[in-house]
Symmetry: C2
Subunit: 402 residues, 2 copies
């Protein structure tokens, strides 16, 4: 089999962790598999480099920043290669340039355009373990680019797709994807399999296991992912097109996101286009909104509420405040003390029972639902933040512990 | 003018030093020159990386070591670029690969084969300051290679040669080339000009201003070098084919090397080929020898002494000891308490006066000459180590302070 393995920065942060990862790689290789390994920069390397840069220039060009940051992964693969050499294993490390990972020119958040396989195949044919720098490529000018957050996952999936790998294993500091955060819900179960879409919904709902871009790429190219622990030897969670699951399990997982706020625009003049203008002003400020509700008051005005990420509060507030007269509304309020609890499961809406069980669970726990939205495979509820953990536990109990 | 400037690791070791170098570069650029800058890795970066490597593998492959080490210069050029950007100057940083510095495959001490100029010219045409990683290139496999000690100087000279630069300035932590070590000989004078050959002799005699490879390359391509300080604004020393100098100055400089030892092979059987066998045994052990003297005793045996570098003592001793019977000699002794003092000057041997003045100076100072060797432009004397500084001062006084 041809297996692509990816290890993140915390998995290679020091010599001990590197040796630990090397043993995992060695085991796979000695079972007779072809192994391609993608590594991130060690632990704090990227932050240290950013600090050095900030000392010289608070606002450096993204091109030079990428030139600086790509050294982190290059150090990781060279050090890992040396460690594997010390175990007498044949190994070669390659940068994104050497592999031929070509990207567009969006420095700092580049998209992969093409992955050459000649060099990879040549090294694999010589029966070598191939280590590849994650997170980076080169653009048409032969300049270094980085792929942005979660970029190493994306590199791993792109290599797996280009090589038609049999497996793409993403090693993380968790053991897989759970029905809920196991640190908060002791009864949380590790899922054996999950669909791409479910993973996407869980990720965007706050379960930070895989970045969406890598999952989307895996879905597009049909790369079967496995999320597993770099520290504990145990089967992880497979992410694939069609997931097998126990018959009675109607939902896949429960996630919560506390890094959100509700913005309410009050007393919008009830004229055609007002609602559009509100959302347009926010969108033009580069803010993504989620779960929009609108209510009509008795005085002929309407209120509109929506959810934004914590980091976008100021941008959204400013964009709206300065247009209050132009759009025609009275004021904007912000509530940061909220949380979004989401229940994810493929085919959920075919079962009204799921929705009613969620409502019942929250009702039993005396938790008020402020906002709600549903999609094909997801129900999200906005509740007060202090009740978030209780809400997750209550829903988990209803579905998994009955 | 097109000017190539090179700054070493200590010149860019922290933000303050980087800003200082940036000002020097900016001044040159703002005078209207085209500027190509070669940088080494910051201060201790290379040592830190080597330490990390040693923790994982005491004997890593040179290929992976080069993969690791080349990140150091890449960080330097990126950081310097950001600093120059903060001064609103147009700048671009390039790695050896991006420039097209092609080397052979001798990882760790690669030789430059070819320097492409297309990218460099394109960036210069756009009126940008071009920063290039020193010490590195890529080989025919597209793998990273390093050039070994003093590699950044070599990079600078190679770029100057390829671009037909008008000047190649090597910025160091000394102000130029002196007639003797100015820390030891207060009357030492900075030389305005010096020939390539004189520089080569001074360098190999222990004056660590420029590595020989870069001087040889400069000589071959007729690149005029200037050695000057990165901290003090003052004219440095020019290294060129024909040097102008004051008429009375018969010698160029005096250097001492204390990192040497004398090995004496005693009572060699006086048979044809014995001397050859001694030197052959040492050469086969990979040891370079210097200043060989042979003396014949009254008993029909001979003694042979030669000078080796401190680091080669054990290798030389072992190589000889295990062949004492095969070669036919009695024993090997080592004297580490010696120093080699060298007097360098073009056309020196045309003047017997120079040699006699050296002998006179040492005689006046009551310093015994143990061994002596002369070449076209050099006289080296082996003396006891404790007298080395006195010897340099005595010779300097004779030639420069009369």
């Amino acid at each position: 089999m041809l297996i692509v393995q990816k290890f993140g920065g915390s998995s290679v942060r020091d010599a001990e962790r590197i040796r630990n990862v090397a043993r995992t790689i060695a085991e796979t290789f000695l079972l007779g598999h072809d192994v391609v390994v993608v590594l991130s920069a060690q632990g704090d390397t990227t932050d240290d480099l950013l600090e050095k840069a900030a000392e010289l220039n608070p606002n450096p060009s993204k091109r030079e920043l990428d030139m600086l940051l790509t050294t982190g992964e290059q150090q990781s693969v060279a050090l890992m290669a040396m460690c594997l050499e010390s175990m007498d294993l044949p190994v070669v490390s390659l940068t994104g340039w050497q592999v031929g990972i070509r990207t567009n020119s969006a420095y700092g958040f580049a998209r992969i355009r093409r992955v050459a396989t000649e060099r990879l195949r040549r090294e694999l044919d010589q029966h070598r373990i191939v280590l590849v720098t994650g997170f980076q490529g080169v653009n048409k000018f032969d300049d270094y680019t980085t792929l942005g957050r979660g970029g190493s996952d994306t590199t791993a999936v792109a290599l797996a797709a280009a090589l038609h790998a049999d497996r793409c294993q993403i090693f993380t500091d968790v053991e897989g994807v759970y029905t809920a955060d196991p640190r908060k819900v002791p009864a949380a179960r590790k899922l054996g399999e999950i669909t791409y879409d479910e993973m996407l919904e869980l990720a965007s709902m706050g379960a930070q296991v895989l970045m969406n871009r890598s999952v989307e790429l895996a879905k597009r190219y049909g790369v079967e992912l496995e999320v597993l622990s770099s520290l504990v030897r145990a089967p992880g969670t497979k992410v694939k097109e069609v997931a097998k699951r126990m018959e009675e399990m109607k939902i896949t997982g429960i996630a919560k996101d506390e890094k959100v706020a509700r913005i309410t625009v009050e007393k919008i003049a009830d004229k055609p286009g007002s609602a559009f203008k509100v959302l347009n002003a926010v969108a033009k400020a580069g803010v993504n909104v989620d779960i929009i509700i609108q209510s009509t008051g008795r005085d002929g005005t309407t209120d509109m509420s929506f959810v934004v990420a914590d980091t976008d509060i100021d941008k959204a507030h400013a964009a709206l405040s300065e247009r209050s007269e132009a759009i025609g509304f009275e004021r904007v309020t912000v509530d940061k003390e909220i949380a979004k609890v989401s229940v994810v499961g493929a085919g959920m809406m075919s079962s009204l029972e799921v929705a009613s069980l969620v409502f019942e669970a929250l009702n039993d726990a005396h938790i008020n639902i402020q906002m709600i939205s549903t999609s094909e495979i997801k129900i999200s509820c906005v509740i007060e933040q202090s009740a978030a953990d209780r809400a997750v536990a209550a829903i988990h109990g209803k579905f998994f512990e009955a």
